[in-house]
């Protein structure tokens, strides 16, 4: 019977015991541990180093232009490489206008899709719809641009823009010949591109709202829409706002698709039908052909401004999203 026993004499155990110590050859690993953790630390610090490097490069290479034009650089409209006069206002204007136009079009769509997937879709549809929306995010910018040039622009030119010009021309927003190419095209293609990211963040924060909130509102006799409005959207609104701002950040920095359809003319126009230019586009088009140091420096300065603006916007967005999802590791923005 197992149980308390008188103290027994130790018995002979396996004879291999004495030889077994050399069995374990590896050292105590103290030094290797320290080397390893140092190496990992270096990898971690390299992330910080990258950001520092980016800032360093942008600032030093734009010094020439900063000295020549100062901060008024961003409010002047003259972009004349021949005479070495550079003013970035048209690009700033174009970037802001195209991005906000994109937001205007994208936000209702993205939130609508997110609401549908999270609250309305039957179970069997949820997964595939979510996957498909994320597929939109995987399409490279240049392919969006390609499609936009040959499919979207002709549609705009032949149907949409004449329509807008005829019936809404009185607003002043739709003046001028309908080229197809221009601010409107840029806004539309940008909108399509940022819907996935706004939608996926919105879905994430909506899912994070606890089920009890929905049930509390339903129990009061609300319709489904009222439940969504008061039980979910209201609770998630900080996160949704964060998602929208994240979409804005993405739109601000988007290069290829916009470059391909915006017309690339440094002009400021009230009309959405007119061509324009964005900060990212001017860099993309002119950087490898910049003939003088000042020219290059001016372009780098535009890049610096773009960097700063997108960083600030993204930080703001991250903070908002974290406030709802409590700072779980974020998925890489697809």
């Amino acid at each position: 019977m197992p149980g308390p026993q008188p103290v027994a004499k130790p018995e002979v155990v396996s004879t291999s015991r004495v030889e077994s110590q050399p069995l374990l050859k590896a050292g105590s690993g103290d030094v290797t541990d320290r080397i390893f953790s140092f190496a990992m630390l270096c990898c971690g610090l390299s992330v910080l180093g990258l950001v520092a490097l980016i800032i360093f490069e942008l600032v030093t290479k734009s010094k020439l232009s900063l000295h020549a034009f100062g901060w008024r650089f961003f409010f002047r409209s003259e972009w004349d490489p021949v005479n070495e006069q550079f003013g970035a206002w048209p690009f700033v204007y174009g970037t802001l206008l195209s991005s906000f136009l994109a937001l205007l079009l994208a936000v209702p769509l993205a939130v609508g899709v997110a609401v549908f997937i999270t609250e309305m879709a039957p179970r069997w549809l949820k997964g595939s719809l979510a996957f498909v929306t994320e597929l939109l995010a995987a399409i490279p910018s240049v392919i969006y641009g390609l499609w936009a040039i040959f499919v979207l622009v002709p549609i705009l030119r032949q149907y949409v823009e004449p329509f807008l010009g005829r019936y809404f021309g009185w607003t002043g927003l739709f003046e001028g010949a309908p080229y197809g190419i221009g601010m409107l095209a840029a806004g539309v293609i940008l909108a399509i591109m940022i819907v996935p990211i706004i939608s996926s963040i919105t879905r994430e924060v909506m899912t994070a709202v606890p089920q009890q909130q929905r049930e509390a509102v339903l129990a009061l006799g609300a319709t489904r829409w009222e439940m969504i409005r008061t039980g979910v959207l209201r609770n998630a609104r900080a996160g949704i706002l964060g998602g929208i701002i994240l979409g804005l950040g993405r739109a601000l920095g988007e290069t290829m698709a916009v470059t391909m359809v915006i017309g690339n003319r440094p002009e400021i126009s009230r009309s959405l039908l007119a061509p324009g230019y964005t900060m990212a586009s001017v860099i993309a088009n002119e950087f490898s052909e910049a003939t003088s140091d000042t020219y290059l420096s001016a372009l780098v300065e535009v890049g610096l401004a773009l960097f700063l603006v997108t960083i600030i916007v993204n930080i703001l967005a991250q903070l908002l999203v974290w406030s709802v999802t409590r700072g779980a590791p974020a998925r890489g923005n697809a």
């Binding site: 541990d33 990898c43 971690g44 309305m120 240049v142 392919i143 499919v151 009222e226 290829m256 890489g332």
Partner: protein
């Protein structure tokens, strides 16, 4: 059927009137409409890619380099190879650093420095790709004096690192601490535990993250515009300008030649097939891989 809620209800919900029901149905319709509006361009893009591209994909397209302007025929073989080359360089730089940073964050970085790195990685994810191109230009192209595949690879690596870092961290954190303790209890050193036990347990998840980062940068054009720059011919030297599929699509698309437009569609179709293939493979692997990890 619903009774009117008591007057004290903070939502002051009125009886389910026609108005409320109508609004509810309208919203549902609007949501469905939004889904359709969003799916339409997606479907259209894929449809056009196949419609316009499939006819032009033939053996010649896949094996020849571009012909001079105006001549028919030629292909994007060098661009496809060039993209692979640049991506290989980017992976060699980006993947080890990214995984290392992820290991740091998960195993050693539960502190303020780790928080800073985490935050910075998320911020780095949002840097416009054209800006990354400028930086790579400054570091590599200027110091070497010419465009190169290396510069393109560096630019793409910079974009891969934050994504890989965060997904690696996430996957490593999913490994239960009990597993690490089991290894410590056996007298295994910490570095050995991290590599042979923790990382090994999280392998499928980490690979998923790497492939996602890979798929994301595979289609990038902007950072290559003035780093790899493009090339009409074959190039295997790491220090020379190199063609890339995305660059080729771009320059053909904005050109005035129909022949080149046709090839742009074909190139785009190939690019999207590769990317969607990679993303789908990742999704499927994740569906199975997740079960293995925990």
């Amino acid at each position: 059927m619903p009774n009117p809620a008591p007057e004290t209800s903070q939502f002051s919900i009125t009886p389910v009137s026609l108005w409320r029901r109508a609004t509810n149905n309208l919203v549902t319709a609007a949501a469905v409409g939004a889904v359709i509006l969003v799916l339409t361009p997606l479907a259209a893009i894929f449809a056009y890619l196949v419609y316009k591209g499939i006819g032009s994909i033939n053996w010649a397209f896949l094996t020849q380099t571009p012909k001079p302007v105006g001549e028919a025929g030629g292909g994007m073989a060098n661009a496809i190879a060039g993209s692979a080359y640049i991506l290989a360089i980017a992976s060699c730089v980006g993947v080890p650093i990214g995984i290392g940073a992820g290991i740091y964050l998960a195993e050693y970085g539960r502190n303020r420095l780790g928080d800073l790195i985490r935050f910075t990685a998320d911020v780095l994810n949002g840097v416009p790709s054209i800006v990354v191109g400028i930086v790579a230009y400054g570091i590599v192209v200027l110091s070497q004096g010419h465009f190169s595949a290396l510069a393109g690879g560096v630019a793409l690596a910079i974009m891969m690192i934050p994504t890989i870092t965060r997904t690696t961290e996430e996957m490593l954190l999913l490994v239960p601490n009990a597993i690490r303790e089991a290894a410590y209890g056996l007298g295994v050193t910490r570095w050995r535990t991290t590599l042979s036990i923790t990382l090994r347990t999280a392998t499928s998840g980490v690979i998923t993250g790497v492939m996602l980062a890979f798929a994301r940068v595979a289609g990038e054009t902007a950072p290559l515009l003035f780093t790899a720059f493009g090339n009409q011919y074959w190039n295997w030297k790491v220090n020379q300008p190199t063609a890339a599929l995305s660059l080729q699509i771009f320059s053909y698309a904005i050109s005035p030649f129909d022949e080149w437009h046709r090839q742009a569609w074909a190139g785009a179709l190939i690019l999207i097939v590769l990317i969607v293939g990679a993303v789908s493979a990742v999704r499927i692997a994740a569906g199975r891989g997740m079960l293995k990890g925990a």
